[in-house]
Amino acid sequence: MLAQLGDDAKLLAGGQSLIPLMKLRFANPTHLVDLNFIFGASYIKEDKDAFRFGAMTRHAEIESSAAIGKIPILHDCAAGIADVQVRNRGTIGGSLAEADPSGDWATVLFTLSAEVRCLGTSGERTVSVSDFIKDAYTTVLANDELVSEVAVKIPPKGSGGAYLAFKRSAPVYPTASAAVQLRMEGDICQDAAIALGCVGLTPIRAKDAEAAVRGQALTEKTMAHAIEAVRAAADPQSDMRGSANYKRVVVGALVKRAMEIAVRRARGEQVEVGHVYA
């Protein structure tokens, strides 16, 4: 159908971003192809080493699934997106395909080993999340392709992660967000992935900050170095949600908090996390 309708067709998943964009006339598709009636596109499956989410799986379904207790950062994300009503409709596949710089899922999945399965008229291909997102509102999807599944590897033993977003109130996009995934051995951080959201055209991996903590004990000094690198990696724009400098400070603070929670979770502690409101 997409191949027939061409450029002017848009896929409608949960519609919680697309319909508002259409009302503002930022999106003006001639045809909408509603994916909500496709049977079997919403599922959460656990394999030996990964979770697989059908593209049409709603945020609320991920939020309430017991399975994701194994990857707490996914719960932080699913339970924090907007509000109940939006989570009842919005989907993980739609969020990724929209590639909104302020979206939550892409930022979180940048810190995990996550792959997007793309299905098109010429077959199927699997792309890592970081390759999938090309630019603001732009993905590798061709006109005749859609997201069919998102697969997330279960992190190795000793891992912990956390996702925090800072926003004015529940339904709005965050001012800044931070996803951290660590692997600890005792007090030493063996591996780290840090992704920043809403402070660039795509989620940003803070590689210098990751290097600053990798192989280190997470002392005050090490953390301070990492946070400095986070602020340098952020590339925010000033807008109604705050000035560029303000967002740099916020994202640094979020990474610090997320790292502290990630460390506790890596030790096996249960820590409940919610999005932070102004």
């Binding site: 909500n36 939006v86 339904p171």
Partner: protein, 162 residues
């Protein structure tokens, strides 16, 4: 753009009653409920997916009816504020909103009550935190949230064993 957009037929149940209509594909569910079915209890507040005044239950799940097309509700069961009352008896949530002074101007009230109904259907004895999370998508600009929380708590008590 195509010259003419054909209307699409939809069949759905609203408040237990079956309806069969044809609608413009671009028509939003909230407009369909208000204009085509004359169910004006569901309000349009911001029309930007923010305020939650248009909240209805779609197959039991709270949704913002300004952010879903009417055609997407084909085959669905919708509950609006008009469907809360049964045989002339107010729903416990409606009684509780009145008794606890959980409304001032009343504009946000239908949406808030439906968010509360979804919460109580899944979690009959919610904590304060759970209640706050459940109504985070409903804006009350009279700032009456404390009494709204009291109302939900009271409804939960009254619905015990119901």
């Amino acid at each position: 753009m195509p010259d003419r957009i054909e209307n699409i037929s939809v069949q759905l149940k609203v408040n237990g009653k079956s309806y069969s209509r044809t609608v413009e594909p671009r028509k939003l569910l909230v407009e369909f409920l208000r204009e085509d079915l004359d169910l004006t209890g569901t309000h349009v507040g911001c029309d930007t997916t923010y305020c939650g005044a248009c909240t209805v239950l779609l197959n039991g799940a709270a949704v913002k009816s300004c952010t879903i097309f009417a055609v997407q509700a084909d085959g669905a069961e919708i509950l609006t504020v008009e469907g809360l009352e049964k045989n002339g008896e107010l729903h416990p949530i409606q009684k509780a909103f009145g008794d606890s002074y959980g409304l001032q101007c009343g504009y946000c009230t239908p949406g808030l009550m439906l968010s509360a109904v979804q919460l109580l259907s899944q979690n009959p004895q919610p904590s304060d935190k759970e209640m706050r999370k459940a109504i985070a998508g409903n804006t009350c600009r009279c700032t009456g949230y404390q009494n709204i929380l009291k109302a939900i708590q009271a409804a939960a008590q009254n619905m015990k064993g119901a």
